[in-house]
Amino acid sequence: MIEFRDATVVVDTPDGALTVLEPTSLTLTEQRIGIIGANGSGKSTLARMINGLVEPTSGHVLVDGRDVAEDGPEVRRRVGFVFTQPDSQLVMPTVVEDIVLSLRRVEKDKKARKARALEVLDTIGLADKADVTVHALSGGQKQLLALAGVLATEPDVVVADEPTTLLDLRNTIAVADRLFSMRQQLVFVSHDLGLMDRCERVLVVDAARVVFDGDPDEAVEHYRGLVRS
């Protein structure tokens, strides 16, 4: 369970303090949660707080009762994060080595680590590319690999921040199918409104606050109204 308790983010800028997220209280228990909103609305900030990448300047964010600000490493073991740009997330030279890197903190035995990494690659259809350099993969394959690196450690929650924004339709479908078929709780930030109907609950973020929280169809309609107004 993910809880926001009056969580607020304020950052200092040359022009003074800027509120990136107004005080927000939410309890997220659904398996598939969507977040939509315009660029700069605060939706990525909201998502990043779940993993502790952004800490609240006041209030609290808790995952399964653990405060992200006080127990960050434990929260990050439970919450995986998929970024928009997979190139920043893939840090090892070859495909299999990147998965092995994720497994270093959960599996101490080198051979078991490699075997597990190959199993993970098999689940995303990249087993035949295990020894290929990550830079030779297509955008969709890179994003699937980044997701596999997250899933390899078996987190309880996956937060995906616009994971399909840079992908073509075929790869968008492949990545979305993989995300929505996971056993993990998913928090899915996207501009792709068509994918929101696969969520149970959708939050609309605008001007640093959650302005709608509920049914996907109504949320998308609310967002369209905001854009038109």
């Binding site: 993993n51 502790g52 990448l53 960050g72 490493p73 990050r76 073991r77 995986g80 994060f81 970024f83 740009q85 190139d87 920043s88 997330q89 893939l90 840090v91 090892m92 030279p93 070859t94 080595e97 092995v100 890197l101 994720s102 270093r104 903190r105 080198k110 680590r113 490699k114 020894d131 350099t133 830079h135 690196g149 997250v150 450690t153």
Partner: protein, 202 residues
């Protein structure tokens, strides 16, 4: 340039089976020997030994030549200068030594998975933990250094293409400013990604 680092290619030779730690030690020893021996004959012998080891490791000749292309061009220029200024003996000695070092480096990275290198670095630095050294972080920094090169080269290529598209390929500002900004941005994003993966949390 990225080719100079090489990428791990699975194999069954003794060099592939040798653990990363001892292999890293042998590479260090080899470097000392190559740098420590003087003269054009020693340079040629070192290069000959490196070529034999490269063949033993089953390095693909075409791929190796492609990897060393940039270095060979640079060595040709340096050698020409050496011949002109200090004689052919020095040119042969310097070129032989450099090629011998790069070839063995290539053999090392081609026959050793990065995970093995990281484990060896972690193990080697463990005695320094009481002095405040964090072996896991040093090993991670090492892998990031390897990964950063192709990314930076990619960014440089895209920046150059963007400047060219605007007709600004001769303006250093149009090349350097976006390159620096994107390189820093990439570093920050990578930091976030590592943080999100719990790498570096200890």
């Amino acid at each position: 340039m990225t080719g100079l680092i090489g990428i791990y290619r699975p194999g069954t030779t003794l060099l592939h089976r040798l653990p990363a730690g001892p292999k890293l030690g042998l590479v260090a020893l080899w470097s000392v020997v190559v740098v420590g021996t003087k003269g054009w004959r020693a340079g040629l012998i070192c290069l000959g030994v490196a070529l034999v080891i490269a063949a033993w490791a089953r390095l693909d000749a075409r791929r190796t030549l492609r990897s060393l292309r940039g270095l060979l061009i640079m060595l040709a220029i340096v050698s020409a200068f050496q011949v002109w200024q200090r004689g052919w003996e020095i040119a042969v000695s310097v070129s032989g030594d450099l090629l011998a070092l790069f070839l063995i480096g290539l053999v090392f990275t081609t026959t050793t998975p990065v995970d093995g290198v990281l484990t060896a670095i972690e193990r080697g630095l463990r005695p320094l933990r009481p002095l405040g050294v964090q072996p896991e972080r040093v090993a991670l920094a090492f892998s990031l250094m390897l990964a950063a090169l192709p990314n930076l080269i990619g960014i440089a290529g895209e920046t150059r293409a963007a400047a060219k598209a605007r007709g600004l390929e001769r303006d250093p500002r149009a090349l350097l400013t976006p390159f620096a900004i994107r390189a820093v941005s990439h570093a920050l994003e990578t930091g976030d990604a590592l943080h999100a993966r719990g790498l570096g949390d200890g």
